[in-house]
Symmetry: C3
Subunit: 273 residues, 3 copies
Amino acid sequence: MNDLISECAALLEKVKQKKPLVHHITNYVTVNDCANITLAIGASPVMADAIEEAADIAAIASAVVLNIGTLNNRTVESMLAAGGSANERGIPVIFDPVGAGASAFRNETARRLLSEVRMDVIRGNISEIRSVAGLSSNTKGVDASEADTFENAAQIARELASKRGCVVVITGAVDIISDGARTAEIRNGHSDMSRVTGTGCMCTSLIGSLCGAAGDAFHGAAAAVLCMGVAGELAHEKAGADGSGSFRNAVIDAVSGMDADILKARGKIDEIS
Amino acid sequence: MNDLISECAALLEKVKQKKPLVHHITNYVTVNDCANITLAIGASPVMADAIEEAADIAAIASAVVLNIGTLNNRTVESMLAAGGSANERGIPVIFDPVGAGASAFRNETARRLLSEVRMDVIRGNISEIRSVAGLSSNTKGVDASEADTFENAAQIARELASKRGCVVVITGAVDIISDGARTAEIRNGHSDMSRVTGTGCMCTSLIGSLCGAAGDAFHGAAAAVLCMGVAGELAHEKAGADGSGSFRNAVIDAVSGMDADILKARGKIDEIS
Amino acid sequence: MNDLISECAALLEKVKQKKPLVHHITNYVTVNDCANITLAIGASPVMADAIEEAADIAAIASAVVLNIGTLNNRTVESMLAAGGSANERGIPVIFDPVGAGASAFRNETARRLLSEVRMDVIRGNISEIRSVAGLSSNTKGVDASEADTFENAAQIARELASKRGCVVVITGAVDIISDGARTAEIRNGHSDMSRVTGTGCMCTSLIGSLCGAAGDAFHGAAAAVLCMGVAGELAHEKAGADGSGSFRNAVIDAVSGMDADILKARGKIDEIS
């Protein structure tokens, strides 16, 4: 067992003690799953997207999650307000550029959010991260394009992290977490996760939850991605044969039962640079 | 078995016969659960928040639920229109002041809704009800603050009910229902209910469903809270060990299977004043 | 086994190969179920309702689903833009007139969408389709009215389909699919489906998924309705006794496990004119 996995396991205990409030401005497709997984890991979700209160709610939160899955011009303004409020107070901001690359509006919004808000963590699939990094991207909708291979993913994450001074997470068959200096890869998870909506969004909510308890965003992000990957495996074992409706619930079940021992026994995380 | 539980059991049968239409203007986090639990108890949900139709839909409903979980300036206007339309026609209005106390915007909106709409029932956790009652509140997000003890909850409910001429429900480890003259407490439920999002919102939807069939809002609210509490216990027995994803479905399962006999066998409701 | 069922079974394989992108502008009540059932059948959902991107996202999709369940003036404009963009490119548009007949705003919006967008398929319950067809309707909320009998449903579907040059689907105890020239009826499904929210919306999402892979909207719609009906039966057998929460997941489970053999073994579809 390496140091990184010990760190992740310790953070899991810490989130349950601290119960950080995680403010989400997120899409209406997967918002219920995001709230439930935030509760399952031991944090407390609050979803509030009105411009009149976005900055106020962010100010009392331990982490802010900005997810552009179903963005519109009203909620983009609220994201900017919440992000700015969090930045002023040193509260970590997690950005999920859902569907970046799929439309000019998404690209422009991602660019604007990244320019006006200092993000602590950016999480996306390879297509979304390529788009955010200014590389060619074949984003089609909100799922990663098969044309965007995972080749060089670690390098892309490392460079984007260095450029932006944040942690970059690319989730896929293998997950990459980098803050520019440190890069880790996680070999947990299961392909069933791509058959239900929201596993990416839920992973981002877990990053918010763990970063809301962690002093270090690299460790917070790593612990969250590890929990999600292990939960995907446990859910497959429990409900993979039942179908995707049951699998989805089993993911939340697995997160609600996750503890340091499970993480240590099943986690496959390694620093690769 | 006391009179109150007989009354609740009778109402449960009545809602299945009448199938009241329950108009919700509610948050997008738990709205699916609210619709499903409304169907599960035997009522018919309709969610409609456009200002162009809010008053019209309220006018054909048997109850109106106003829930400010993810309020914004557009939907607040629709809540006012729906509430006013219901008031004109004597249709019961149920108010769920989600997160009252967490931001100035929520406080102001709750104040405005209470000033412009005559509410028949207000349901919240202790932090939210303290906020609505003008008492000091430690609301942090949408979950009750541990700093807001349940001490004097019955008195707070009674006084707020008397002042506003409505039924006040405070849900928690013990649930309180008061219309100022009559006060009941319910000792059902399970702590697992706080590990999934929306159990409060779902309780409010059940209050709407039962009040849509009941002549008396005190009995309607009591029956709804009793159903929710018993459902929480049954769900814990069925799925508590599986995790919070399964527990959530089991709550809806339990409500869909609820009948007068189960309520009479398991309900723990007593008038306390 | 008739030709129609062979056609449906073949389309089921085709959707899994093509993985069509299905752009939804839909309600926030059942949107998660719509996304999950779209993934379950093998297609890829994208929900995007901002006017700034509605036409762009529709342009890269294989089908567009417009569902007015929780319409508002912002999203209606986006529906018009997405529908227009799809029409220009010959991308099929599926219309779900949720609650048509329940308010003047819904009626007017349905009328406007039908007048400005060429729909390839319209799916509703008997009350909604009667309203869209300009017949007397007893719509109360979003569930079919018991006062609107299914008598003459095939004739209503056939006439509306001929008038509009599209496929009309009426779902209920028996499902009718007509393009004016061909009319089929499906005798699958289970009454449990009316005890959970969103089975109509999910059916519409399946129509979008299948029409996104089919050359012929009549076959696409028939295959989708058949899948939904068979899934309802399988879900009842698996989870009917557990309650409506479990049933809902079992529907998605059943769709995720649906294949040509199941469809051929259980499908009850017949051309009736």
